[in-house]
Amino acid sequence: MIAFIVRRLLQSVVVMLVVGFVAFSLFAYVGDPITIMLGQDFTELDAARIRRDLGLDQPFFVQFAHFVVNAVQGHFGISYRLARPVDQLIAERLPATLELSFVAASLALALGLPMGVYTGLHRDSWLSRVMLTLSLVGVSLPTFLIGILLILFFSVILGWLPSFGRGTTVHLGWWTTGFLTTSGLKALILPSITLGLFQMTLIMRLVRAEMLEVLRTDYVKFARARGLPNRAVHFGHALKNTLVPVITITGLQLGALIAFAIITETVFQWPGMGLLFIQSVSFADVPVMAAYLCLVAFFFVVINLIVDLLYYAVDPRLRIDRAVSGGHTV
């Protein structure tokens, strides 16, 4: 168990170093920071001084090491566009994105899982057919279109929900939350549906497929042959066996939610990291882009780690202990 965690942690570090390297390379290949910072009129002396101040005169790997050391502490330098420390910018935007992704993921899971179980158990009911048809729509419509349609209907025509922004937020230390005000909660509804819909249909279809698969297995048939009630067979035996793939996909999807919040944030002018990133790209604001890249990769790595630990909790076959299994075979 410990060895397993250590191994996974080491892998995570390697992944982060690779991503960090890519992010660092952005500095070298996307624009020259000196020109960007000094504008058009500068002397060679100015340039050399700044180059020395920024450490740009040092060998490549020394620079990379500096970058890594700073990045680990959360320092990504100064935004070219906003002339403020990147870590501050990110910290301001992070809560918006995380709250949005969290609500979207909860929505996707809370609806997708029961719908998947239902459509798996009642394959031929009309309700299952309705859900499956709707889910096809959910999968095939592009996110921005869903967002625009929702805005059109609920904001423009009905006027029930806001079409942009986070509403009123409350500060809890450096974290800003929209969970504590009515306008904050209302503002969350449309963007989180937009962001979570695709994930929800995906989870529903996955759970359904896995349920159908598991219901055909011998151990489910044997559970029935032992006279166990349907509830125990369906939820105790079948559903639990669908969890491993569901955890994997949900975990990956949570990472994807954070990453792909870009589109939803743009449609809803949601003041999150995705919107910050899009704006930074058009200004070639490399420090912000690099920080965003590293942060998203970090979330993916952390989520993957949690997913692996959950496997461990769910599936005893991974908890191999040979000391026990040996000796007692026929």
Partner: protein, 332 residues
């Protein structure tokens, strides 16, 4: 329970018919199968793959998977008709009155739960006991099926047991609530040859001790010879011949059985691999008119191609073959 007549069979299957509706018409996989099993008796069931053995067993415990369905006949357990019961009532009979042992012990157990959990869950479903009592009973059962250090092993997961050990656990699960009948569908086919005999012996011993009758489906004529009291030979969804095991093995009547018994059976002889009889069993959508066996039968005559033989009483059993109609007994 009504007071059982002394000689009433435990299980009676009468004219059982199992169908699968398909796009190209209805397939009849079990066609008018009738037999009985007495209390404590072991009935062996043999026949090539696809003969309808498993479906007969599944029909008895009410677990035919849709779109398959019981289309006719009746199943009576201890005088009570059970084939038309609502799902919930039939569920209470499964495990409690009729236990099942499946073919593959590697896939019969849920990999995510300890064997103890699966045993306790089954015991608590059927018997009115506390979880502690259920666990104690589970340990006793594991000891009975020959699992050493049962107190410790009960908390292990299926993957920590070998195939043979897992089949012992499956047998313990089938016996959890002391059912009166066990349906064992090829319980050793998936196991290593070296341990097949052990498992069969264990099954027979435990069923005798628990007073359970057994419907033992197998390919192995040797197992039948050693274990069964009577044997039913199935062919293309019907019973070709049924009778006391000694009679059927020593003096088989039906030409198909005669083919099967081409030589003296020994343990490990596999019906499926017998090449005594030319040809193959017909597919369900191509069962010939008359006797289903007639294209392969060395004794076939005109009547066989036109009329289907029903089961006819002979000595201690029955045979479905025109050779035995109207006193033509044994003419070969």
């Amino acid at each position: 329970m009504t007071s059982p007549r002394a000689n009433r069979p435990l299980l009676e299957v009468d004219g059982l018919r199992v169908e699968f509706p398909t796009r190209r018409g209805t397939l009849v996989a079990v066609d008018g199968v009738s037999f009985h099993i007495d209390p404590g008796e072991v009935l062996g069931v043999v026949g090539e793959s696809g003969a309808g053995k498993s479906l007969t067993g599944a029909a008895i415990i009410g677990l035919i998977e849709p779109p398959g369905r019981i289309a006719g006949g009746r199943v009576t357990l201890d005088g009570r008709r059970i084939d038309d019961l609502p799902y919930e009532e039939m569920r209470r009979i499964r495990g409690r009155q009729i236990g099942a042992v499946f073919q593959d012990p590697l896939t019969s157990l849920n990999p995510l739960y300890t064997i103890g959990r699966q045993l306790v869950e089954t015991i608590c479903t059927h018997l009115d006991v506390t979880p502690q009592q259920a666990r104690a009973r589970a340990i006793t059962l594991l000891q009975e099926v020959g699992i050493t250090a049962a107190e410790r092993r009960i908390d292990h997961y299926p993957h920590q047991f070998s195939g043979g050990m897992r089949q012992r656990v499956v047998i313990a699960l089938a016996l959890c609530a002391n059912p009166r009948l066990i349906i064992a569908d090829e319980p050793t086919t998936a196991l290593d040859v070296s341990i097949q005999a052990q498992i069969i012996a264990l099954l027979k011993k435990l069923c005798r001790e628990h007073g359970a009758a057994v419907m033992l489906v197998t390919h192995d004529m040797g197992v039948i010879a050693e274990t069964a009291d009577r044997v039913a030979v199935m062919y293309a969804g019907r019973i070709a011949e049924i009778g006391p095991v000694r009679d059927v093995i020593k003096r088989p009547k039906h030409p198909y059985t005669i083919g099967l018994m081409g030589s003296i059976p020994t343990i490990g002889r596999n019906v499926e691999r017998l090449t005594q009889i030319d040809g193959a069993m017909p597919r369900l959508d191509a069962i010939p008119p008359g006797c289903a066996f007639n294209p392969r039968c060395p004794k076939a005559f005109d009547r066989c191609r036109g009329e289907r033989p029903e089961a006819m009483a002979i000595e201690h059993g029955q045979v479905a073959c025109w050779l035995y109609a109207n006193g033509r007994m044994g003419e070969r």
